[in-house]
């Protein structure tokens, strides 16, 4: 898929300089050298990104149908096939206090998903107890493997429970034409559904035992989660934070979870702490 998005020159340079299976992120910035991040750390290539090629990357990533990705572009990203997510950096066009589009795109952050089968086996032993699922929150700074862990949790839980994934950015399942390209077991996948109405829609229509979703962010997200949990459905989700900041700023708002799993960057996916709370 990367070769379909990137210009041949960039793709050749990248594949010469690193093992693609170890690549997590590519950063292209207009007139700057291409940067790679992966299991190998950081690498800077001797190739500069160019404005026109960045534009062509976007056209290719959207199958030359930019309008179809309008709602994603407004939120600053493009979710491509195979779970690849492109973060967009440019000038936001504001209309009626909201972002209408992003123009003059000068940089792309291309994130490549990784599937690590079995990486959530330890966490699952904590999440499942006596055939019950605990409401769980995966916490880590960006790039520590939260989505990879959530995907494996979905795969493992879906053996026995009705698991539904609300995959807002198609990063968990990488679904193409209704088929998940990454292994999420028997989980059902609700794609690109905004979380504003996502929980209500899936709880009412698909009666899941457990909902898995990625990256809660705003206070509204938290309120919706609390409502969903009240309805009796179990929620497993993730949030960007670290142990210190989480305790200080987020725990009071997110105290309704039963289990908190902290991941760290060294190495990626490493579990730094697991906290369990039994609510009265």
């Amino acid at each position: 898929m990367l070769n379909e998005i990137l210009p041949t020159e960039y793709f050749d340079a990248i594949s010469k300089n690193c093992n693609l299976s170890e690549l997590y992120e590519i950063r292209l910035q207009n007139d700057k050298y291409i940067q790679l991040y992966g299991r190998f750390g950081k690498k800077v290539l001797n190739v500069k990104a160019d404005e026109n090629e960045i534009k062509h990357c976007i056209e290719r990533a959207t199958c030359e149908s930019i309008y179809a990705y309008n709602h994603q572009i407004q939120k600053g990203y493009i979710a491509c096939c195979d779970g690849i997510r492109i973060g967009l950096v440019g000038e936001a066009v504001i209309e009626n206090n909201s972002v209408k589009t992003i123009k003059n795109i000068s940089g792309l952050v291309i994130r490549i998903p990784h599937e690590i089968i079995g990486c959530a086996e330890y966490i699952i032993s904590k999440i499942r107890s006596n055939d019950e699922i605990k409401n769980s929150l995966i916490i880590s700074p960006p790039g520590c493997g939260k989505t990879t862990v959530l995907r494996d949790i979905a795969r493992l839980l879906s053996d026995k429970f009705n698991v539904l994934i609300i995959d807002e950015k198609n990063e968990i399942s990488a679904t193409v034409n209704g088929r998940a390209k990454l292994d999420v077991g028997n989980s059902l996948v609700m794609l690109y559904h905004p979380r504003e109405s996502g929980y209500e829609t899936v709880i009412r229509n698909t009666a899941p035992d457990c909902i898995i979703t990625d990256e809660i962010y705003s206070d509204e997200d938290i309120k919706r989660l609390a409502v969903a949990i009240k309805s009796g459905v179990k929620i497993i989700t993730s949030i960007h934070s670290d142990e210190k900041q989480f305790d200080k700023l987020l725990y009071p708002k997110l105290s309704f979870f039963d289990l908190y799993v902290f991941l760290s960057k060294n190495p990626v996916g490493n579990i730094s702490a697991v906290r369990s709370y039994e609510h009265e």
Partner: protein
């Protein structure tokens, strides 16, 4: 005897020319009628289901052979197998070629609002061309056909 055979040949040739022009304008009209439907189809699919351009092109079933060729060429262009300037190489497309190239060059490269605007404009433009080609069928195709038959008949009578 020779003059009768010669007159017959003249009649045949003039009829052939007449039929050629009649069919030419008929096929040109069919192409633009189909193209107008294609424009409406693209417009509707972009507006309602936000489908991707390659999917929209692949799911359209043209009625005319000419548009079928153009759709295949468009797929080749999208797969970087040919240039856009060669996609509309057809004897039935005259001055409209620039308009078509211009539209398909911009197609899919805009945000939703501008894409809809572009698509609406193209629907209106193709409808206008279709009206013109409809008129051509009656005014040019039929007229040339009749003139050729009449001319051929007249020359044949004179020869005989």
């Amino acid at each position: 005897m020779n003059s009768i055979v010669f007159a017959g040949c003249i009649m045949l040739i003039s009829s052939y020319i007449g039929i050629y022009f009649k069919l030419y304008y008929k096929k040109r009209n069919a192409l633009f009628c189909d193209l107008s439907n294609f424009a409406k189809f693209i417009n509707q699919r972009i507006k309602s289901t936000h489908d991707l351009i390659p999917e929209v092109i692949a799911s359209f079933h043209p009625n005319s052979e000419e548009l079928s060729k153009i759709c295949n060429n468009l797929n080749d262009y999208k797969n970087k197998k040919c240039e856009l300037s060669t996609v509309f190489d057809s004897k039935y497309i005259k001055s409209e070629k620039d308009l078509l190239i211009n539209y398909f060059e911009k197609l899919g490269k805009n945000d939703f609002e501008n894409e809809i605007r572009l698509s609406d404009e193209f629907v209106a433009e193709t409808a206008e061309i279709q009206t013109l080609t409809n008129f051509e069928v009656k005014q040019k195709g039929e007229l040339i056909f009749k003139l050729c038959i009449m001319g051929g008949l007249l020359v044949s009578i004179l020869i005989v």
